[in-house]
């Protein structure tokens, strides 16, 4: 006699489809002069890199308008915001470090 068969249920949660978007167009490397690029420093940490990074970028690319922003404290929604709504209006590009 064949063993009894059972229907067994799925414990995996419901995943919604994810819509994938293209990246934003990149900057033209021959037309960087006058562009505004934000450097967003993640809350608190990684001073070792994030202190010398803006200084060296300004030395190496003096024609770019570098703007430095600091996120709010860690573990807050504000802490994960790299650019405010106003900053987004004049941002031509963004460097965010360190992400987490």
């Amino acid at each position: 006699m064949a063993d009894k068969t059972y229907k067994c249920l799925n414990p995996v949660g419901i995943q919604q489809p994810v819509e994938l978007f293209p990246l934003a167009p990149r900057l033209d490397k021959n037309k960087l002069a006058g562009k505004t690029i934000y450097i967003s420093v993640g809350a608190g940490g990684e001073q070792g890199l994030m202190i010398p990074l803006p200084k060296r970028l300004k030395e190496l690319y003096p024609d770019i308008n570098w703007k430095l922003t600091h996120a709010a404290p860690h573990r807050t929604i504000a802490g994960s915001i790299a650019l405010s709504e106003d900053e987004m209006k004049d941002a031509d590009a963004l460097i965010r470090g360190v992400v987490w």
Binding site: C8, R56, H70, L94
Partner: protein, 478 residues
């Protein structure tokens, strides 16, 4: 991640700095948020920043200027897989093997990782067993698991997709999945729970399902009469093995983490050591000193109502009082032992405030604590003069004040204060304007602490950093 992704979506070319070992997690999180090809550069974990910056800068500028590939310009949709209600059909023996299958995870040094379980065999969730489990609730099988009340789930959870608002579905992290009552019943069967435990399992699901912010871990305390009704262990060893309710309820949380949260460490979420299986344990409200509230009452419920309180992720980092039980007894009974000598009560019978003996609360760290406190110790505090829990919380808060000079030698405030750019809350002044001897609270407020009166046995005290103080109704899930 969701807030970072919006810059690219709004047309601002971006590049993000992460660490080399986090690339897999980064890609998975980016995919989940709709931008799988978002560009990043890695920072060394070991090379000093002023040296590493020379390597990093060309990579950053390249990421901002290199023309997009066709892949980076694509629009498409990822459709979910594994969506069938019936996952397997066959004999129990074959089903057992099916649910216990593992996948080899390259980023876990090719270790196998369980696809549907916590790594241990489970009870196979047959249709019949799940139907039986569903008898433990009046809620319909196809009902979505939603918040029954408004909850403060924390900023981190909100930004990852959980609103905490009444009526909104629970988003299980990190994969942002949702679940029906039947899926929770499936997991309850797999964990070994019985139908009378099912309302607690549903409350665990409502609280986020053992997923936390995606990294999993933490624990749960049951407050209210249901614990006795389902046969939870209230005595010694309530965190140890042997009691079916304490054990299987904890396991249900972990199985939710795997199946609802979908976490695969090193693949879709970063982490370090991970946290092991934690029993769900009951508060012993019958043993509370007179005037002390149970957790249900502290969280706004009635004494007769059963609730589930999240304990947070500190369960893996519990600390213990450094005393031998006998020394503690002698300290309280007759004023003997080093505890009595330190507190200057040698020869004087108690009650004494044993919390004064513990120096280590804020030596390196800060914040409030969750105390796992035996009824005997709680009664010593009561007899000493703390007629309410709030009085103990207030005492702990006042004791936490330390000079700013000392506080600045801690580590985490560098981050919490955003490198001391913010405002110190008790003075309203900028951190850098305050004198070095200004006293700041290492514990942010009295109610950052939580005492759970529980357990039995030799005089010990456990505590962990942080407290959640957020209760989920179990009765609503009956």
């Amino acid at each position: 991640m969701p807030t970072l992704i919006k810059y690219e979506k709004s047309g601002i070319p971006s590049v993000f700095i992460i660490f080399p070992d986090q690339q897999e997690c980064w890609k998975e999180a980016a995919k989940l948020n709709g931008l799988p090809t978002v560009r990043y550069v890695t920072e060394s974990r070991t090379i000093p920043g002023h040296i590493d910056v020379e390597r990093v800068i060309p990579e950053l500028m390249d990421a901002l200027t290199r023309p997009l590939t066709p892949e980076e310009q694509k629009r498409s949709v990822i459709q979910p897989t594994d969506t069938e209600r019936i996952l397997f059909e066959g004999t129990l023996e074959d089903a057992q093997e099916f649910y216990e299958q593992t996948d080899i995870i390259p980023t876990l040094q090719n270790a196998p990782f369980a696809r549907y379980t916590d790594g241990l065999p489970v009870r196979v969730p047959t249709l019949e067993r799940v139907k039986e489990m569903l008898k433990g609730t009046s809620h319909k099988p196809d009902e979505m698991v939603v918040f029954h009340e408004d909850h403060d789930v924390g900023d981190r959870s909100v930004q990852m997709g959980n609103s905490g608002k009444k009526g909104d579905p629970i988003t299980f992290l990190p994969m942002k999945r949702t679940a029906t009552v039947e899926q929770i019943a499936t997991i309850a069967v797999m964990a070994g729970c019985r139908p009378e435990m099912f309302p607690i399992v549903l409350a665990i699901a409502e609280s986020g399902g053992g997923c936390g912010d995606g990294r999993g871990g933490g624990g749960y305390c049951v407050s209210g009469p249901i614990g006795r009704q389902i046969g939870m262990n209230y005595d010694v060893n309530l965190l140890g093995p042997g009691n079916p309710a304490n054990k299987s309820l904890g396991r249900a949380g972990e199985l939710m983490w795997r199946n609802l949260g979908g976490e695969i460490p090193s693949v879709n979420n970063c982490g370090v050591f991970g946290t092991g299986l934690t029993n769900v344990f009951p508060e012993n409200s019958e043993a509370l000193p007179p005037g002390w509230e149970g957790l249900n009452e502290e969280c706004g419920f009635k004494k007769s109502e059963s609730v589930l309180v999240r304990i947070g992720m500190g369960m893996s980092g519990m600390e213990s009082a450094s005393w031998m039980p006998g020394q503690y007894r002698e300290f309280q009974k007759s004023g003997h032992s080093g505890i009595a000598r330190r507190l200057g009560v040698k020869g004087k019978p108690g009650p004494h405030n044993f919390l004064d003996f513990i120096r280590g609360f804020w030596v390196d760290g800060e914040g409030g604590f969750t105390f796992l406190m035996l009824p005997e110790l709680a009664n010593h505090l009561y007899q000493y003069g703390f007629k309410t829990k709030d009085a103990v919380y207030e005492y702990i808060y006042k004791r936490s004040f330390i000079p700013l000079k000392e506080y600045r030698l801690h580590s985490i405030p560098d981050v919490w204060t955003n490198a001391w750019k913010g405002i110190e809350p008790t003075s309203g002044k900028h951190w850098l304007e305050l004198p070095e001897d200004y006293m700041v609270p290492a514990c942010p407020d009295p109610w950052a602490n939580m005492i759970i009166v529980m357990g039995a046995g030799e005089e010990q005290l456990h505590w962990m950093r942080g407290s959640m103080r957020d209760a989920y109704s179990i009765d609503d899930w009956k």
